[in-house]
């Protein structure tokens, strides 16, 4: 992987134009990733897969014609690629769930879908502009380039959200609705040349190649060479080489008929390392886990997911109490499970038991009918089974199709020590106790209301002392918030959540996010902050804004930026705040590391009672609220902290849960206490009078 990074770096240095044309945000890595330090994988084992003829979009031999590889044609010779692409929420990314702006499940007035195509990502601060709206922030081509590292192709990278046809091929006589794009250099609106760029087809090889060259794939897409993306991913095999424009085939290694063996390609089933290309670290490697800069692991920064068999005590990071952390990062990885053994294709005959997700026929408890292997291989359903998390908003109809912990584990047989086990099982996600602490430093705040001098938002991370990407910083870890969430099946359970709070500017009615480029224009004057902004925020009057000063924590400071945005033509600019929960679903340690101390929840110091920090500093205004499609039920108000931050303050009985020892007194308790106090008072009074009378009588008797 580090080699690939060096190659990419070299390419960018050698080709300044490439670096210039890539959108700034797309090249900006998140602050934290986990990098795989393992050696290169062993050579692929012999494959039963037949040779693949490398065809182009016209069905010709691609290497012979020097044309881009078309996987729709090449793989489509044996597999129903059309079916695979349409039944694939990784590819659709929400394209098949599009709605009018404001009607998406998130509740944001500008969102048009539940997937990354149409759902605002507060980590990136960019929004897909609804069709026909101005000003443009992200057009279809801009979205493809921005999300190159996270989208497998196909879906919105190939088809228009407006007319459903191939991008750049609008119906006759109609202006191309997908043409508008934003020039990276000038920020001006341009028209994207789809004929030149082509489209990004579903990239089968990203998941089914042993060593996909993902960096080259991303590079091709970010350069706008969409059609070459499928060819670019073969660069690592030596079959293709990058050129100044596009890619060239290495015809010395490819026979004239274009047939390449599956072994040469490294074809096979999707492995965890393939998932890792977009989702972050997911491997069976045994080398130390290291967090470091890069953009291959955004999911670790968001949800703290580390799916690695490595021991935490052997990590390359400065973990607090490291020597005692003998657990693997995820015990499932240690026990040789891979991603696709939980997230399998639903019609895979090896996994489809015909009963768990409900048989097709109502009166059958088990449906013995199965797809034959040949049928499955022709049309494998790529709507991979999935769990039910707050952040996995795309493909909601597939929520809960995955076998969860209870489907594989017999919890009752291993929890004898636990009083009232079924009450706990009914109320809690298993991860509530089995992921008691997360060590990856996750992002807690993204504040787009002010920008750092490098034009990045102000961010806060949880669980780290010091700079987040400094290996010497102490990773203290964090205890996820245990919050009730309504799942897709309407059940409400307590789940561990990492809460990410974001603030950003919106303007107009209906509201739309202020474009990042305009925000930069509002806040900066060249390389320095604009004078009005500086005057309002420079508390120490040193002529510059330190990190701590970049918070719009008073109405006057907010107003200073409002005036700047109004000067750019924005009407009624205001700050919007939201909370995106990330359900903790990975990182299950050894059972010995599970939470066994009842007081962790059942007590005044328990997770259910303690305020949960949301932000160390917060802009002035209304407190943020959870996004609507997360299902999160806040158990109390969001209150300011004395230090100027925000915290969630839980109340009693969140969502009807009763946590013994963690409840506040009910009015019936007060009634009972009153009865007891009255009784005690009566007893004291009565006994005192008796004693007094007896004493007086005794004295009277003595005197007589």
């Amino acid at each position: 992987m580090s080699g690939a990074v060096l190659i990419l770096l070299g390419l960018i240095l050698a080709n300044p134009a490439a670096a210039d044309t890539a959108p700034a945000q797309a090249l900006d890595p998140p602050a934290v990733t986990i990098r795989n330090l393992s050696p290169a994988p062993p050579p692929p084992s012999p494959s039963m897969h037949p040779d693949v003829i490398l065809l182009d979009a016209q069905g010709r031999i691609a290497p012979a014609n020097g044309t881009p590889l078309s996987l729709r044609k090449s793989c489509g010779a044996c597999h129903d690629v059309e079916f695979i692409e349409k039944n694939n929420y990784h590819a659709q990314a929400g394209l098949d769930e599009q709605s009018d702006a404001g009607r998406a499940p998130s509740g944001r007035p500008w969102d048009t879908g539940p997937g990354i195509f149409g759902r605002f990502d507060p980590f990136l601060g960019r929004a897909l502009t609804p069709p026909g709206e101005e000003p443009l922030d992200l057009g279809s081509a801009d979205w493809i380039r921005l999300f190159a590292a996270r989208h497998v192709g196909g879906g919105p990278a190939e088809r228009s959200r407006s007319h459903g046809g191939i991008l750049g091929s609008p119906p006759a006589g109609v202006a191309d609705p997908d043409g508008p794009s934003l020039d990276d250099k000038t920020g001006e609106r341009t028209t994207w040349d789809w004929k030149k760029s082509g489209t990004v087809e579903l990239n089968c090889l990203l998941c089914h190649l042993r060593r996909p060259d993902n960096m080259q794939r991303i590079r091709a897409i970010q350069r706008g060479e969409f059609a070459w993306a499928s060819t670019a991913i073969l660069t690592g095999t030596g079959l293709a080489v990058p050129r100044e424009e596009g890619y060239a085939w290495n015809t010395e290694r490819i026979p004239p008929d274009g047939a390449v063996s599956a072994t040469t390609l490294g074809l096979g089933h999707a492995r965890s390392d393939n998932c890792r290309q977009c989702h972050g670290r997911a491997c069976r490697c045994t080398d130390p886990v290291v967090f470091q800069g890069g953009r291959d692991n955004w999911q670790a920064e968001a949800s703290g997911s580390v799916f690695s068999p490595g021991r935490m005590s052997q990590s390359g990071m400065n973990l607090a109490g490291k020597e005692s952390l003998s657990s693997p990062w995820d015990i499932h990885a240690e026990r040789l499970l891979s991603c696709n053994q939980c997230h399998y294709a639903p019609n895979n005959p090896a996994y489809d038991r015909g009963g768990l997700a409900g048989p097709g026929v109502r009166h059958l408890a088990f449906d013995a009918r199965r797809a034959r292997e040949s049928e499955y291989l022709f049309r494998p359903d790529h709507n991979l089974v999935k769990g039910d998390t707050a952040q996995g908003t795309v493909g909601r109809r597939f929520f809960g199709t995955m076998r969860d912990c209870r489907d594989c584990h017999r919890a009752e047989e291993t929890h004898e020590f636990l009083p009232f086990p079924k009450t706990h099982f009914a109320a809690l996600e298993c991860t509530a106790c089995h992921v008691p602490r997360l060590f990856p430093p996750t992002r807690r705040v993204t504040d787009w209301t002010m920008l750092e001098p490098d034009r990045k938002p102000r961010v806060e991370h949880a669980g780290v002392q010091g700079a987040v990407d400094d290996p010497l910083s102490l990773l203290t870890g964090q205890v996820p918030a245990l919050l009730p969430r309504r799942a897709a099946d309407e059940s409400v359970r307590l789940e561990p959540q990492l809460l990410h709070t974001a603030w950003y500017w919106v303007a107009g009615e209906p509201p739309r996010p202020v474009r990042l480029r305009d925000l930069e224009r509002a806040l900066f004057d060249g390389d320095r902050y604009h004078g009005d902004v500086l005057a309002a925020l420079d508390r120490d009057r040193d002529g510059s804004l330190s990190h701590d000063e970049l918070v719009l924590d008073t109405p006057a400071r907010v107003e200073a930026v409002v005036r700047r945005l109004q000067a750019l033509g924005y009407r009624t600019p205001r700050i919007a705040g939201e909370i995106q929960p990330f359900t903790v679903a990975h990182g299950v340690g050894h059972p010995d590391s599970a939470q066994r101390d009842c007081a962790a929840c059942h007590g005044p110091a328990g997770r259910m009672c303690q305020p949960h920090p949301l932000a160390e500093a917060a802009p002035a205004g209304a407190p943020p609220q959870p996004v609507a499609d997360a299902g999160l039920m806040l158990p109390g108000p969001i209150v300011p902290t004395p230090a100027g931050g925000l915290a969630l303050r839980p109340q009693r009985c969140p969502a009807g849960f009763y946590v013994m020892g963690a409840q506040r007194l009910h009015w019936m308790d007060w009634l009972g206490i009153l009865a007891l106090a009255g009784t005690l008072g009566g007893v004291v009074l009565h006994s005192g009078l008796r004693a007094f009378v007896a004493l007086r009588r005794k004295r009277a008797g003595g005197a007589a």
Binding site: P419, G603, A605
Partner: protein, 214 residues
């Protein structure tokens, strides 16, 4: 002029055993229940142990109460726990007036306790309420809370754990209030410890030949 005293057996060994088992069970339940409701912040194994102890003594209390119910039903002694209308009104008022006034004036107790009629009017009323309202409330809500650990849907059918737990705790406060009053009332016998000794030994003293007072 006071009558000579005679030693009389008030309680059989079984009745004393029942009483003291119940007393220990109630005390342990109250203590562990308080611990579970208001646990210390430092945690440790105490909470889990308290749950198991609480459940075990609840079983003891229920079993003991069930055996006593059988014993009293089979022997017909259950009748002495049933208050009459006069216990509730005329006798009860006399009884209450004694505790409110007479006891301070040194008046003799208005009722003569015998082994056959050892429950006084207000005792009967109080025990009737305890045995028919408070104890069943505690047993039912406690049992449902316990069953919820195995069949959560059962608790849900009765309002869920938040309601059951709140009712259980409300009953516990009242039970503790009763316990305080009960222990205090033992000091209102002929001497401060006379009633306690009677419950320990089974034997108490009564005036030997006096007719029951009108």
């Amino acid at each position: 002029m006071s009558q000579p005293m005679q030693k009389v057996r008030f309680y059989t060994p079984y009745e004393r055993l029942w009483h003291w088992v119940q007393a220990v069970a109630v005390a342990v339940l109250a203590a562990t229940g308080f611990y579970l409701s208001f646990p210390p912040a430092e945690g440790g194994e105490g909470f889990r142990a308290a749950v198991h102890v609480h459940n075990a003594f609840a079983a003891v209390l229920i079993a003991n109460a069930g055996l006593a119910l059988f014993y009293n039903l089979a022997s017909g002694l259950i009748r002495r726990y049933v208050p009459t209308a006069s216990d509730l009104f005329s006798q009860g008022v006399r009884h209450a007036r004694y505790y409110m006034f007479g006891i301070f004036r040194g008046e003799p107790h208005p009722f003569d306790r015998t082994p056959e009629k050892r429950l006084l009017p207000l005792q009967k009323v109080t025990y009737f309420a305890i045995l028919n309202l408070l104890l069943p409330l505690m047993v039912v809500t406690g049992a449902l809370r316990f069953i919820a650990g195995h069949r959560p849907e059962w608790a849900d059918a009765f309002g869920g754990l938040p309601l059951l737990a709140t009712l259980h705790r409300f009953g516990a406060w009242l039970f503790v209030a009763f316990l305080v009053l009960h222990i205090y009332m033992t000091t209102t016998g002929r001497t401060l410890l006379a009633n306690l000794k009677t419950m320990l030994t089974g034997y108490g003293e009564r005036e030997c030949s006096r007719e029951e007072k009108p």
